[in-house]
Every structure is written in structure tokens, then in C-alpha cells.
């Protein structure tokens, strides 16, 4: 599909490249590292999934990229390159200019992400007023067109309604409409369908796919659902305790994981299971941020753990074409 050769300048630059991102979090009991050296990149037209269990730092990573981190958290290292420029070095005003036309985010909870006391047509039209200087009337027309595009029935009438007057699925469509209004290069979707029923989830996923194709967007899809990743993403970044433990093309990674955690997650899916037979579960649960061990982050739950894992944190090493994993013994997984 992508036929860009390395020699063609410009075309190969990722739409978004996150490099060694670190985020610290101030808590009552001290500072903890919530995101620890996360790197990934995604090109236009491609979908990258950030996969991991709750609390592993997916949302913090996303919020750092769009500059919407909570005051308790701060980026302490790394770079977030958009069209090649590091946004972390930009002024707040410069960054605000990117929000919408270049980078955009869809949150899980549309009800809190939308303004409850403003008609939705106004909200969806707002980016056009701010970034393109359209009049209120013109912005409303654009909003209605977008509402039509994302599948809101009777958009002209519904533009006057308030967020709570829509179903969960329709609100998510509204949020998506707002996020794609200015045709961003990169759309980050943080668990966009987690709260929705499957038939509605499928509709929203198709909508996102269609919009991505139409607008040639890069999509960063944040999810804890392996099946969603398998179905929807090109590449996957598996996170654990604030770090990237494995990274690569989805099919390669899911077919033959090179990190015991990825392997454990895949085995835990009850899809191929035999009824009545125990599922191969990963024992224990992820560490608290304040108690992430100094060696391998996964050591407490890893079936392959040994002395070296306790002593030394494994760095991400190449394990195949376009693939990396942070495990001292990933070759052993390759053999089984």
C-alpha cells in the first residue's frame, strides 16, 4: 500500500513521532514516573494502536502529545514531533494552533468532553470560527455538514440540541465530528468505543475508518482490547507500567509475540479456549507506579524471570523486521 521509498524526501516523515517521552506525576507521597521513555511513530493513512491494561500510561501519553496534561503531571523528557517539529519546544500559542488542523483527540467519555450547556451545532462549529474565522452562521453550516457526515439523523434540527439529548453512540459521533472538523494529520482516539455496545462500537469504528481513508489521517488508537487492535490497527505498541515492552506490525506481533507480557495477554483472550478448561492467565496484577521495580518491569508476573531480569532493565531491542521488544530472553519465545 505504502510505496514511499526512503529516498523520497518529506513523504517518509511520520505525521507523528514520539521519542523517549517521560512524564512525571506529583502525588501526595512523592513524584512517580507514569510514562517512561515511550517512543513510536505513525504515518498518514496508517493506524497505530497503543495497547495495555488500565493505568499503564496510555492516556498520559496521549494527553502529552496534545498538550492537555493534568497540572499534576509534567513532561520531563523526550520529544513529540509533528511534521518534524518538536511540539514540546513550542510556545503555548504555537501549540494551540496545531490543535485541530494538525493534531486532534477523541476521548472515551463524550459527555464530559462536550460542553453540557451549549447546543452541539455551536460546539462543532467552533473550530471553524477559531481557526478559519468563519461567521457564526457559516460555522453552523459547516457543523451541520459534518453532523451529516458522521451519521446524525436530521442534523439541522439536532444542531440545536444539547449533548445529554443524544445517546452515547451519537455523542461519540459528535465528538468525532468536532475532532475531524479541520482535517487533522493525526487523530488520537483514546478508547473511543469502550463505553458503547458492540453494534454501536462497530458503527463508530467503521466511521473512523472511513474518515481516515477520506482524509488520509494518521490514527493513534488507544485501547485495551486486543481484538480491536487485530481488526483495526497496522502497528501496535504494547505498554506495561509506563514503558513500551513490544512494538511492531500487528500481525507479526500477534502471530509470534516476542515479549512474555504480550504473549500472556494473547493467551488470556477466551476466544480459542476450550470450555471448562482453565484459561492461561497472567498471575498477579501490574505494579503500582511507586513500586515499579528497577530491573524488568514485568519480572513479578513473568513465567521466564531469572536473576538477570531482576538486576538489569532490558532495553528495546530489534527482534525482527520493524519490531522491537524489551526482554532479555525474547529469543526463547521465538523458539516455542
Amino acid at each position: 500500500m505504502t510505496t514511499t521509498s526512503p529516498s523520497a524526501p518529506g513523504t517518509d516523515t511520520p505525521a507523528l513521532a514520539v521519542e523517549g517521552l517521560c512524564v512525571d506525576l506529583t502525588t501526595p507521597s512523592g513524584t512517580v514516573r507514569a510514562v517512561d521513555g515511550v517512543s513510536f511513530s505513525v504515518r498518514r493513512g496508517r493506524t497505530l494502536a497503543l495497547l495495555g491494561e488500565s493505568g499503564c500510561g496510555k492516556s498520559m501519553t496521549a494527553l502529552s502529545v496534545v498538550g492537555l496534561l493534568d497540572p499534576a503531571a509534567s513532561v520531563t523528557g523526550g520529544a513529540v514531533r509533528v511534521r518534524g517539529d518538536d511540539t514540546l519546544r513550542m510556545s503555548p500559542a504555537q501549540r494551540r494552533k496545531l490543535a485541530g488542523p494538525v493534531l486532534s483527540i477523541v476521548f472515551q467519555d463524550a459527555l464530559t468532553a462536550l460542553n453540557p450547556v451549549q447546543p452541539v451545532g455551536r460546539q462543532i462549529g467552533e473550530p471553524f470560527r477559531i481557526h478559519r474565522g468563519l461567521s457564526r452562521r457559516q460555522a453552523l453550516e459547516e457543523a451541520i455538514e459534518l453532523m451529516t457526515r458522521v451519521g446524525i439523523p436530521e442534523p439541522r434540527q439536532r444542531a440545536r440540541s444539547y449533548p445529554h439529548q443524544f445517546s452515547g453512540g451519537m455523542r461519540q459521533r459528535l465528538l468525532i465530528a468536532m475532532a475531524v472538523a479541520l482535517a487533522p494529520d493525526v487523530l488520537i482516539a483514546d478508547e473511543p468505543t469502550t463505553a458503547l455496545d458492540v453494534t454501536v462500537q462497530a458503527q463508530i469504528m467503521r466511521l473512523l475508518r472511513d474518515l481516515q481513508d477520506e482524509r488520509d489521517m494518521a490514527v493513534v488508537l488507544i485501547t485495551h482490547d486486543l481484538a480491536v487492535v487485530a481488526q483495526r490497527a497496522d502497528d501496535v505498541v504494547v505498554m506495561y507500567a509506563g514503558t513500551v515492552v513490544e512494538n511492531g506490525p500487528v500481525h507479526d506481533v500477534f502471530d509470534a509475540p516476542r515479549h512474555p507480557y504480550t504473549r500472556g495477554l494473547l493467551d488470556s483472550v477466551p476466544e480459542d479456549s476450550v470450555r471448562g478448561r482453565p484459561l492461561p492467565a497472567v498471575p498477579g496484577s501490574p505494579p503500582e507506579l511507586s513500586a515499579v521495580p528497577s530491573g524488568c518491569v514485568f519480572q513479578a508476573r513473568c513465567p521466564m524471570v531469572r536473576e538477570r531480569c531482576v538486576q538489569e532493565r532490558p532495553s528495546l531491542r530489534t527482534t525482527g523486521d520493524g519490531r522491537t521488544a524489551a526482554c532479555h530472553f525474547s529469543e526463547e519465545l521465538a523458539r516455542v
Binding site: 455496545d197 453494534t199 462497530a202 485495551h224 487485530a230 494473547l266 488470556s268 477466551p270 476466544e271
Partner: protein, 350 residues
């Protein structure tokens, strides 16, 4: 009460033949509405369900279809407007006083949110033993209670030393184990699990599913297992009941329903759920359902699924669909669906 439990648990000549053994629970024509006048909604509409002893019944359907309401009826917490509930032959809604208390002990619940459902100020041991305060005769003396708490902790895969820890010291999966131990404290016949693993991460979800399966093997517990996750339901259930807008629209043995769904909604639900390995279901086909679930205040005439059904015809709007049964000789209970134009067994469904 404990007498009758002992006799029914070893149901003699029927024990191995589910076809003959009377169901532990039988629900017939249960209807439940909420509100009144124009604001009356029908949460359950003529629901029939049978659950055999030791079986696990999976209950699936999108939010608002009535799963939790049915669970509350089974627990005796919600009285149906119409229809009957028979638990081991008894109508729980006819019981009073001591009899009701004795019955309550036999049916327990595990909730979705282990954080919200546990009192933060009680230790694990206190939480697990709390039901004994109401049901005093189950484990009468303090020494025996301590011992039983330790047994229960180990049954659900926790350590004895966990007895004196508090909910905030436990992870989500551990709290759910405490919730399960607490449900087990009264040695129930039936445990209703309402989305018990939905709030848990995948790796932890597998642990909790394993605990539930093991308890079934070891103690012979019967489960009603509610989940919106089809692969979880497929893993754990012997039979599956699919609901839509308050009605059971399909019911049958798990593999029958998953492999050969009859109702278009069931097929659509399965098609919509993303799967890790699409190749497993070679006959899978994409069904794109339009629209969302209609309001329960305004249920469509005829077949309630018709506003989203890709097979709908005029008949579906004017006439309530019949119950269709696909015979399978070797199963105890038939595979039924509510549809004018059910899918063929051999059709590529989803």
C-alpha cells in the same frame, strides 16, 4: 432447609441426565415494568428461562435489554408484574419470614464493580463473613468462622494473610475475588454474576474466570452469568440466552447459538464483536446494523428488532414473530428463537 438441599443436591436417578432432572430455576412469562402512564417502560416482557442444576447460563444483550432486571427478579429483589419464578419448585415471592431468609441464602450475587460494592472500612475477613450476621446458623461459632474465612480465601485464590487487609490494599481482581468469596460464604446453590469481569483488565479477567469455573467443578455451583463480552460468555456458559428490549429472542446450547444462530440479531451481535482471529469463523460475514436500540418507552410493533433488521419484511411489522425451534436430538433443551424468517443452520451467518 439444609435437609432439602442435601436431598436435591444428589438428585438420585436423574443426576446424570439433564433431560430428566427438574431445573433448579424456572422462570415463565415474567414481565416487569417501571413507571406509570406514558412514562411506563417494559424492562422484561414475557421472559422464559430454565436453568439446570450445575449449569451456567450466559445472558447477553446490549445495555438496557433487561439483563440486570432479570437478575434482580431471580434474586427476589424485584417482584415481577406477571409470570412465575420457581426455585427448586418454590415460589420465592410467596415466602415470608424465616422461610424467605432461608431461601435468600441459596441465591447470591457477584457484582460488576468490586470497588463500589465493598465497604471500604471492613477487612476482607469481615466482608466475607458479613452475610453470617444475618444468617447466623450457617457457621455458628467464632472459631469455625475464622477457619471458614481461611478456606474461602484459598478457594478464590487469595492468601490467608489477606484476611486482615482492607479493600484499598487490594487490586481490582483481588477485590472481585473477595466479592466471590463473600457470595460463597452462605454456600448458595445459585450465583448470579452481573458483568463480573467487565471492570477487570484482560490478564486479571482470565484469573477470575478461572476461579469461577473451578468453583463450579468443585462445588457444583449454578451460575447465571451476565456479560456483554461474547467470547467470555462462550467460554463460560453451557447455555446462552440472548435478550433484546426486554425479550428473550434466542436461547440454546452455547455452541448451537454461536455456531448456528437463528435470530438475525444474534448473528449481528456476533458479527459486530471484533475477534482476534477472524479465520476461526470461516462463515463469518459482516452484518452492518443500522441505527440504535429503540426507546423502551416505544417498543416497535410486531417484531421489536425490525427497525434494525436486514431481513425484515412487512409481516415483521404487523405480527409478533413465533417461537421457532431447531431440533437437536442430543440436547436437553431446544434451541429456540423468536423470528418470522430465522437463519438456516447452514447459512453463512456472520
Amino acid at each position: 432447609m439444609s435437609e432439602s438441599r442435601a436431598t436435591t443436591a444428589t438428585s438420585g436417578p436423574y443426576a446424570d441426565d439433564p433431560r430428566e432432572s427438574p431445573p433448579l430455576l424456572e422462570v415463565r412469562g415474567v414481565t416487569k415494568t417501571f413507571g406509570s402512564g406514558r412514562r411506563r417502560l417494559t424492562a422484561l416482557d414475557g421472559v422464559d428461562v430454565r436453568i439446570g442444576r450445575g449449569q451456567t447460563l450466559g445472558l447477553v444483550g446490549e445495555s438496557g435489554c433487561g439483563k440486570s432486571t432479570l437478575a434482580r427478579v431471580l434474586l427476589g429483589l424485584e417482584r415481577p408484574d406477571a409470570g412465575t419464578v420457581r426455585f427448586d419448585g418454590t415460589d420465592p415471592f410467596a415466602l415470608r419470614g424465616k422461610d424467605l431468609l432461608a431461601w435468600r441464602r441459596r441465591v447470591q450475587m457477584v457484582f460488576q464493580d468490586p470497588f463500589a460494592s465493598l465497604n471500604a472500612r471492613m477487612s476482607a475477613a469481615e466482608l466475607i463473613g458479613e452475610p453470617w450476621r444475618t444468617h447466623r446458623d450457617v457457621v455458628p461459632d467464632a472459631k469455625a468462622r475464622e477457619k471458614r474465612v481461611r478456606e474461602l480465601l484459598s478457594l478464590v485464590g487469595l492468601r490467608e494473610s489477606d484476611a486482615h487487609r482492607y479493600p484499598n490494599e487490594f487490586s481490582g481482581g483481588q477485590r472481585q475475588r473477595i466479592g466471590i468469596a463473600r457470595a460463597l460464604a452462605l454456600d448458595p446453590d445459585l450465583i448470579v454474576c452481573d458483568e463480573p469481569v467487565s471492570a477487570l483488565d484482560l490478564s486479571v479477567q482470565a484469573q477470575v474466570l478461572n476461579v469461577l469455573s473451578e468453583l463450579r467443578t468443585r462445588l457444583g455451583v449454578t451460575y447465571v452469568f451476565i456479560s456483554h463480552d461474547l467470547s467470555v460468555v462462550r467460554h463460560i456458559s453451557d447455555r446462552v440466552t440472548v435478550m433484546y428490549l426486554g425479550k428473550v429472542i434466542e436461547q440454546g446450547d452455547t455452541e448451537d447459538v454461536f455456531e448456528r444462530p437463528q435470530h438475525p440479531y444474534t448473528a449481528a451481535l456476533m458479527s459486530a464483536a471484533p475477534v482476534l482471529k477472524p479465520s476461526r469463523d470461516a462463515r463469518r460475514r459482516e452484518i452492518h446494523l443500522q441505527g440504535e436500540i429503540p426507546s423502551p418507552f416505544d417498543i416497535p410493533t410486531g417484531c421489536r428488532f425490525r427497525t434494525r433488521c436486514w431481513r425484515a419484511e412487512d409481516l415483521c411489522a404487523s405480527q409478533t414473530p413465533p417461537v421457532v425451534t431447531r431440533g437437536t436430538s442430543d440436547t436437553a433443551e431446544p434451541h429456540t428463537a423468536l423470528c418470522h424468517f430465522p437463519l438456516e443452520a447452514e447459512s453463512a451467518w456472520a
